[in-house]
Symmetry: C2
Subunit: 457 residues, 2 copies
């Protein structure tokens, strides 16, 4: 019996024997061991072995068996191309035909157009038609992640006939735990869970037990919205419809977990100013490529601040100690701006922000900014007095910190809200803008005040 | 028919009529409208109305009906206490008894011990025993999020008898889509999906169709590990066992989505240095309370840098322009440190990092740091030359940036890995440490070099 052993984080399966059987061309032993594994563990091994061994696998496993590995989200986008190149094109096409349509489309979307066309031509006609129907949906919409392998029943069926339909559909359908009820025009009118079906009497009519208040999503809806709907309502699947309520597909909970995970990685990588963190880097060059764009942009923006400080060269030449607090003030403004930004971005992502008016939100952020600014200012005046016995310098730094935190907090929440309204992803561009804006404003206030009171310092 | 209208983000239900029927004490009309709604929409209304109206609801709805609302993760932890105080204690106790055990435990864990005890005493004995059994599991472990409402069958049953057991268990069980098979000692030996059951012939023995390679998790395992297991394997539920493989409970996919979401919010809020972002703030004071601790800690740490710069007062007094680049250098070090930190923290969270050796990872990060540092340094030397026609000053800034990025990148990935190894949450403390460390090192290098070459500037 195989099982994850949680104590040492290892999957206990006989990896060595598996690789050995591959190396010795012992096809029977290999298949016996390999097909016992869960597809996730098969994928782990498949990704791990050397290309020559993987090429043997394509002869030892049917396209259908390999399809189970490719169904998983475990394979990186970059790896798809490498693996597919190792395979015979006809074999690959047959593998795609054996995948659930939504997953096949996910992989195909990562490939070049010409490659996709050649696979589609090599495929049986039925699968090719199904895949083509989904390929044209825009990325990140409900249509792009839905599958067409679901079970529908006419609303005048009985439980008995519904169960027969289900039994026949079971091997193909992605989920059989929800059965969708349609009218004569194929419009969605209800949903029945398998739980309800097995409890009900066999002669009961479906329309008498179905739930008519079915929650559906539009095919054009954003995938993150769909994910939130499934999360909020605790669904295992949600039906996808067009504007006329015709049923087009379903989206299942496992796909939604991947969407939520990607979304979280995405917001996180933007806050950290890394181009893309959804795939983990295998070498320094690809990692550097993802980090450099932001570092360079931030450097150019940072030169603006340097330029501004340069303009106060004379003031600093008179009281050099002033320079010591520039990073402190800019840093604090940056920190409070990031806090406000993160709260706003996360609030938009989890839809918490939609529940209330934007004006109230900004008012509250202004209050938060004033409150935190005031406390930090008092704190810093005290710190500087204790450290340097300088009261006026402390007051200067304190005043700069108060104003900077106030401005940083308001801009940190206003800019992402504004971008969200403009249909721009708020996480994308607001980070560096806000930081630069805050740096500029806070140093301007600080050095401006310092220049005005220079005679007193 | 109700349905989410994705175009305007609104739930179309007749909120006004609902509130009106409450105000007019029209219990029949209220119940008719209210019970048609999905529990998620009921919860939305329940949270929204005034306390007096909510108090009416406790008379109009049975504890069981209210339980459906409390099952959802939609109610904030802080709100539980308020709502429970509005209710009669016996009513509340009966409501808990009617919830799925895992969800009841979730809510009870947020309350005071004495309050929990009083609810348990008022409850029927069976429910109280079930809840008590789960209450003692440590927070954030598999035990604390599992439910004991699952279906088990003996391994010598037939499909027919299994279906009978399932039908009887269906109204109570949290999921009936997996049925767990146990031996005479209640040890988990296999799993059968409802899909397999309805396809199989009625006289088939369970042990001949069950999957013996069942993936289970230990009751003491961390909930994030469980979440990753369910995500990787695309499960709808996973069984929880003790060291002797006795079945103790199951964890379902809907609970896991909440765990992944919390985890993401948690990492995100730590990167942004906000104490807790899992609940959205309703007023400035609670928001300020969450942001101030980090702001103040960072201020104190920032004083270290200010102190260090202060030590170079004389150098700056001679060449005041030097001060202009301090925020640029410290900022760039901070940015690259945050990037490396975020990649490491996210890699640990998604388990991507476990696949490879830590040494290789650090080597790669060193390479990334050198690469990005070098490119940024060359870039900045050019920028400063174009802007100020200063070559030596540019070289100074460039050298400081190269070393700072290199150190920041290595510490940004080493510190979280080290903390993870020490079983401390890497996201928690590494952020401000890394930033301060980088600030100190980068300014030390910069001003140190400047002092050494001051005669040439």
């Amino acid at each position: 019996m195989i099982e994850r052993n949680p104590m040492n984080e290892e999957i206990i399966y006989d990896e060595e024997s598996l690789i050995e059987s591959l190396e010795q061309d012992d096809i029977i032993h290999f298949r016996e061991l390999f097909l016992q594994l869960h597809p996730y563990d098969r994928a782990t091994l498949y990704k791990k072995v050397e290309p020559e061994l993987r090429k043997k696998m394509y002869f030892y496993l049917s396209p259908k068996e390999l399809a189970e590995i490719f169904e998983l989200s475990e394979i990186d986008d970059n790896d798809y191309k490498i693996f597919l190149e190792e395979m015979d094109a006809t074999y690959a096409a047959e593998m795609f035909a054996n995948m659930f349509v939504d997953n096949a489309v996910d992989v195909l979307n990562e490939l070049d157009k010409s490659q996709v066309v050649s696979y589609l031509t090599l495929m049986d006609k039925e699968s090719a038609t199904e895949i083509k129907a989904l390929l044209h949906y825009e990325e990140f919409t409900a249509g792009s992640i839905m599958t067409t392998e679901y079970v529908v029943i006419p609303q005048d069926s009985t439980v008995r006939s519904a169960m027969t339909i289900l039994r026949n559909a079971a091997p193909e359908a992605e989920t059989i735990y929800y059965v969708f009820v349609v009218d004569d025009d194929e419009r969605l009118t209800g949903v029945v869970s398998l739980r309800d079906l097995i409890i009900a009497h066999e002669d009961t009519f479906i329309h008498s037990i179905m739930n008519e208040r079915v929650v559906s999503v539009l095919v054009s809806e954003d995938q993150e919205e769909v994910a939130r709907t499934i999360k909020d309502y605790n669904f295992l699947a949600v039906p996808v419809v067009d504007f006329q309520q015709h049923m087009l597909g379903i989206i299942t909970v496992d796909d939604i977990i991947d969407v939520l995970d990607e979304e979280a990685s995405d917001d996180y990588s933007k806050l950290a100013a890394v181009a893309d963190m959804t795939t983990f880097d295998k070498n320094s060059f690809s990692a550097a490529k993802k980090r450099l764009p932001w570092l360079l942009i931030l450097l150019v923006l940072g030169m603006l601040t340097a330029n501004l400080i340069g303009a106060f060269e004379e003031t600093i030449a008179q009281v050099a100690l002033l320079a010591a607090f520039i990073p402190l003030i800019a840093g604090t403004a940056g920190n409070s701006g990031t806090q406000a930004l993160a709260v706003a971005v996360r609030g938009i992502a989890t839809r918490d922000i939609e529940d209330e008016s934007k004006f109230k939100l900004l008012l509250r952020e202004a209050g938060t900014g004033l409150l935190t600014g005031l406390i930090c200012a008092i704190f810093v005046v005290g710190l500087i007095y204790v450290w340097k016995q300088e009261f006026l310098l402390g007051l200067l730094v304190g005043a700069a910190i108060l104003v900077s935190i106030f401005v940083a907090t308001i801009s940190g929440s206003f800019i992402p809200l504004f971008m969200h309204k403009m249909k721009v992803d708020p996480a994308v561009a607001s980070g560096p803008f806000i930081t630069t804006l805050n740096d500029l404003i806070s140093t301007l206030i600080y050095l401006g005040l310092a220049t005005a009171f220079i005679s007193n310092l």
